[in-house]
């Protein structure tokens, strides 16, 4: 197994499709995310963003086409792919009955950290995300903003070359949104960042390139300023690429 690269991982999707029965959640997507790139996946709810992320992480298998992280298949070579991924799910998907430090210990251990390395990583991450004061508290008793910080902290703990973030600021107040964007902004460049969002401001602030999905199909792909700078960017969310020109 080759070691994860320090400057980010490459994500490659070719003809990627996913069906749920008759429903086509993702259709024939071709995209390459370069190592170290900050890439945004935009679209309305149900456009296929989360499905794409689940295919990249190996949580779902593709119906057609292929996806690879640094050349590794997320299903057949899950260990190699998961060693490269830090994942922050849409809304805080955490264990409310665990304490913050205990949860981070678990998150580090299941990503291969152990012994002194694990302890150091936990302390650094607690400090980085300003979680020292709540390290001994139950996650379920924390505010949404703190829970999202914990969610981000577990993703950064093992210093992954690919950070996948699904709707990072959903349900947060403006101050908390700003905090999360600040953390993600710092992370950009040091690793590959794949962000799913329907917030255009967030996409502008955090990504260099975006793809816009509508009903599972890619309707626009290019530099963020270019794609979102055309006419009415919301038209893209409605699948009207010509109107957005």
């Amino acid at each position: 197994m080759s070691e994860p690269q320090t400057r980010g991982a490459e994500v490659l999707a070719e003809g990627l499709s996913r069906h749920f029965g008759p429903h086509r959640a993702l259709r024939d997507l071709d995209v390459r995310i370069a190592p170290g790139e900050s890439f945004g996946l935009l679209g309305a709810n149900g456009a296929g963003k989360t499905t794409f992320i689940r295919l990249v992480t190996g949580y779902l298998a593709a119906s057609a086409g292929r996806v690879a992280v640094d050349g590794f298949c997320p299903i057949a070579q899950a260990r190699e792919v998961h060693a490269r991924i830090g994942f922050v799910a849409e809304t805080s998907r955490l264990y409310p009955d665990l304490r913050v430090r205990g949860f981070l210990r678990f998150a580090g251990a299941v990503h291969g950290l152990a012994g002194g390395g694990l302890v150091d990583a936990i302390e650094k991450t607690l400090a980085r995300f300003q979680l020292e004061d709540v390290a001994g508290r139950l996650i379920g008793n924390l505010s949404k903003g703190y829970q999202q910080r914990v969610s981000l902290a577990q993703a950064f703990l093992h210093d992954p070359p690919l950070l996948i973030v699904d709707e990072p600021t959903g349900g947060l107040d403006p101050l908390q949104q700003e905090e999360v964007r600040h953390v993600l902004g710092e992370a950009a460049g040091a690793r590959t960042l794949l962000i799913c969002t329907h917030d255009l401001g967030e996409a502008r602030a955090l990504t260099g390139r975006v793809a816009v999905l509508h009903r599972g199909a890619c309707v626009a792909l290019g530099a963020t300023d270019e794609v979102l700078g055309r006419g009415d960017p919301l038209a893209l969310f409605r699948g009207q690429a010509e109107e957005a020109q």
Binding site: R79, H82, R93, L98, F106, A109, H111, L118
Partner: protein
């Protein structure tokens, strides 16, 4: 720490972080105490009856041989404890996979270095440990009756081996139901249904020819536990219970993998 050991530790922390594990353990302790003291009370009443009717106190030959601590207290308590496991184990197992799926944390687990086999192994091991803890809590009363009845520790150990085997078989049923469910309630109800059907096939004797009923009966859980209760350890019974673990493990693993391609 190995990833699957970290998962086992997390499972135990989550289990004891919620009231269900504590309530279940308290339930086992309470039910065992109530059943034990109730049977002891009845046993003492029977002895008193014999004492008063003979008007001569406790002469050994005035009390029938079947009136003893083993048959009047120990074995009925063990039988009821086995049935108590059917009622309580699904409460422990219902959340193990279903809660993970309903909270969406299964997606988080799926992006770690844990393989589906390790996830299932960690969750099964943690649940079996909880079952062992439930049985350990119930040990004190039977142990005291062993001292009084002169049953001997080996017999008690065999009975508890049987109870543990029954407990992990029931846990395996519950874990499979949880692995195929998103809702804890659905997981619990389906586990009860499967466990009660498999517990004792004697009810089928009303509908089936005697030969068929006699063939089916050994496939149920109760007669297999019955051998242990009588102090016998048979290879066939151990294999029977091990089958639940292996089939349960394979089905739960299948459920995790199948969810990716559904």
């Amino acid at each position: 720490m190995r990833p699957w050991l970290a998962l086992l530790r997390k499972e135990l922390a989550v289990a004891f972080g919620s009231p269900m594990a504590w309530l279940t353990l308290a339930g086992v302790g309470l039910v065992t105490a109530l059943i034990f003291f109730d049977h002891l009370r009845i046993y003492n009443q029977i002895l008193f009856l014999y004492a008063t009717t003979t008007m001569g106190g406790f002469e050994t030959d005035t009390v029938p041989t079947y009136v003893n601590l083993r048959d009047q207290v120990f074995l009925p308590v063990m039988e009821t404890l086995a049935l108590t496991l059917v009622g309580l184990v699904p409460l422990v197992t219902m959340r193990v996979f279903a809660e993970e799926r309903s909270r969406g944390t299964d997606e988080l687990l799926a992006t770690t270095l844990l393989t589906p086999t390790q996830i299932v192994a960690g969750k099964f091991a943690a649940t079996y440990l909880l079952v062992a803890l439930m049985l350990a809590l119930s040990f004190i009363y039977p142990a005291s009756s062993v001292v009084r009845a002169g049953l001997g520790m080996p017999h008690l150990m065999v009975v508890y081996l049987g109870l543990f085997a029954l407990g992990i078989a029931l846990a395996s049923i519950g874990l499979v139901c949880s692995a195929f469910s998103t809702h804890q309630l659905v997981a619990a109800v389906s586990a009860y249904a499967v466990a009660f059907v498999l517990y004792d096939f004697r009810w089928t004797a009303q509908f089936l020819p005697d030969t068929v009923a006699a063939w089916i009966d050994p496939l149920s859980l109760h007669p297999r536990f019955g051998s242990f209760a009588e102090g016998m350890v048979r290879g066939g019974d151990l294999l029977y219970f091990a089958g639940y673990v292996l089939v349960g493990f394979a089905l739960a693993r299948f459920a995790l993998i199948q969810a990716r391609v559904r």
